[in-house]
Amino acid sequence: MGLKILTEHINVPGIDTLETYRKMGGYRSVEKALKTMTPEEVVEEVKKSGLRGRGGAGFPTGLKWSFLAKPEGKPRYLVCNADESEPGTFKDRVLMEKIPHALIEGMITSSYALGARTSYIYIRGELMFVLRILEKAIAECYAAGLLGENILGSGYSLDLHVHPGGGAYICGEETALLESLEGKRGNPRNKPPFPAVWGLYGCPTVVNNVESIASVPWIVNNTGDEYAKIGVGRSTGTKLISASGHINNPGVYEIELGLPVEEFLFSDEYCGGIWKGRKFKAIVAGGSSVPILTGELFLKTAEGTPRVMTYESLSEGGFVSGTMLGSGGFIVMDDTTCIVRNTWNFSRFYHHESCGQCSPCREGTGWMEKILHRLEHGHGNMHDIDLLVNVSKQIEGNTICPLGDAAAWPVASAVRHFRDEFEWHVKHPEKATAPGAVYSGAEDLAFA
């Protein structure tokens, strides 16, 4: 068993109440930070820890905090991004649902470090029941003097609000989230200016993922240097992985970064191998936005080095033969999965969730979905496959926010790694559209 930082007490009965949570050592970091440390010291600890943003981009959290502008006479805000909507990612939900106080403790400590007097948790609209759990926990904290005026007699005051979104994926993009929080249409903003300078209500703002914020208390309690010892190289600490798909034990796992992928995928402690004894065909390693990989390329890089679960190792090989750790949405596919259908399904999601603000994404996501729909239903042509790649290239990098890239990468990588399967759909439409039919290798293409 690896070290558990976030989920150590997840199975303790009543851990969602303040009483049990404090019994388990909760809110020590608030006392330590507010009474013995300056805000700068907390930021310094987080910087030393090497904690990287757990929302997907992997930007160092301490560095992000140190960019926060501190102009006179303007309030600063901390906003927690709990709008977890990436297909395949469901770690924040589990964390908030089971141990709401872990997030709240992190919010108090982090807000103190950033000098925020009002902080927000922007939660996904579909998670209304989690919102109620959080609100109950926040009420407990107010009653216990952990929130509100003069927290624990330290002179520091903080108000914490939970705000539900309307259920739009795009509102998980930090600037769209801020727009939505301000009560406007959730359209991403043009950057620069970045939220650290011009964020919520035009004030300096830090937006962090739930898991990043929930990691802060441990860092404050045990120092950043201790945290940096966990993990490998620049990937420090532990990470929650949402494992789903064709595996024996789907679920949320906390792993120490640097765990070999083979161990994570096949050991009974974690995923437990591919279900029903089938073959490992493909994987989406970090949520639907990251490039899809074949099983072989995922276990070993193109050079033959075995991969480990770190930001660096998974992205080795770039977009040609690598992928990304992203937000940790680990979707495993066995050999009965039709990649064309899967790609179409992802594409349909991005088409539906594009905000429609900038033209390449608005028009391109719909175009890709329609081409993939045609291919999947046996009406495609050979040139459609190249067209698909070309359209994805026209979207990638030309949009306001990363949703365009997120829509383009899965498509481009699926064609790159599974081109023969796309060709099979074009050449043998009657076979490919038969119920349950799956491409099973080059022989299919040659003789059928």
Binding site: A168, R185, G356, S359, E363, W367, G397, N398
Partner: protein, 330 residues
């Protein structure tokens, strides 16, 4: 002040100026096109992505290039920045891609569209588009919407530049006009088919770069290249009263605000001037409107007043002596 190099040309502009405005200071062929950016409207820009440029050097202090192409209309300049527009094949390729995206769901009904001849999208696709299309799918369509007796909304033609939304937001009092839906189902709407009832509502027609919002008093009356634009003004208690009249013979077919060379309205005008004053007697005529040579409207368009050359003064005195006695044609 910041000094930047745009397409190899150096230009000095105040800090905080956008790359696009720096390029406009140079002028001419190097200026990136813009479909959504509109100087008089706060917050506009960054959406259509046709003004993408490549920043090959971020600034004098930090000479690293920017990783992605940037929208020049919203990216501020830094001292020592080096920007490539027409010099960069990558930019031209990306722009071609964006133009294709703008056109895939556009109905291409220019032959029956009132905007034809003065349409930014038409000009853009002539310059950066391809002659054919790779789009085989059915185009997205919307029902035509009526938003009051004066303005027609044709959502099919819209490119969602948000200019009209900002106009309705910023120069009129009530917020009745916005974007509904998302993705390629997003549409301009006045929840639901409300009349835009406001003295300055007509300006949404002028800011629209395509034929999505058109003037109902001019719809199907004439092709814009058959009309003769003249500058005119009147004393208006609500607005500046400075307009362009689009005439056919002595009939005023349409009244619009004056636009600069980038298609941006100089001074917004009120609905009374735009929709109600359609007689020549309502206006003081200033002279012909300058139309760029590249525009189709400039065909058969003579701007300079015809001045008789001074031949008479050069003639010998004997020949001019009794000139005034000769009867003149009226």
């Amino acid at each position: 002040m910041a000094k930047i190099t745009f397409d190899g040309i150096e230009v000095e502009v105040p800090d905080g100026t956008t790359i696009l405005n720096a390029a406009r200071k140079i002028g001419g062929k190097v200026v990136p096109p813009a479909m959504c950016y509109y100087t008089p409207l706060k917050g506009s820009g960054g959406k259509c992505r046709v003004c993408l440029v490549k920043v090959t050097q971020g600034s004098a202090k930090d000479p690293r290039p920017m990783p992605k192409l940037v929208a020049s209309c919203v990216t501020p300049v830094q001292d020592g920045m080096v920007v490539e527009n027409t010099l960069s094949p990558q930019v031209l390729e990306a722009r071609k891609g964006v133009v294709e995206m703008l056109l895939i769901n556009h109905p291409l009904d220019c032959p029956v569209c009132d905007q034809a001849g003065e349409c930014d999208l038409q000009n853009l696709s002539y310059e950066h588009g391809t002659s054919g299309t790779r789009y085989e799918e059915e185009r997205r369509t919307f029902d035509r919407q009526d938003i009051g007796p004066l303005i027609q909304l044709h959502m099919n033609r819209c490119i969602l530049c948000y200019r009209c939304v900002y106009t309705a937001d910023q120069i009129t009092d009530k917020r009745v006009h916005g974007v509904l839906g998302r993705g390629d189902a997003a549409e301009i709407g006045t929840y639901i088919e409300n009349v835009i009832d406001n003295d300055f509502s007509g300006n949404v027609i002028d800011v629209c770069p395509v034929g999505a919002l058109t003037d109902k008093t001019f719809r199907f009356k004439n092709r814009v290249w058959f009309t003769k634009p003249v500058d005119a003004h009147r004393d208006c208690p609500k607005c500046s009263g400075k307009v362009v009249l689009w005439n056919r013979g002595s009939d005023v077919l349409r009244v619009t605000a004056r636009k600069n060379e980038y298609g941006e309205v100089v001074e917004f005008i009120c609905n009374e001037c735009r929709f109600e004053k359609k007689e020549m007697s309502d206006w003081t005529i200033e002279g012909p409107r300058h139309i760029a040579r590249a525009s189709v409207i400039s065909a058969n368009h003579y701007e300079l007043p015809v001045v008789n050359p001074q031949i008479i003064a050069d003639l010998p005195e004997s020949t001019t002596k009794e000139l005034h006695l000769i009867p003149r044609p009226i």
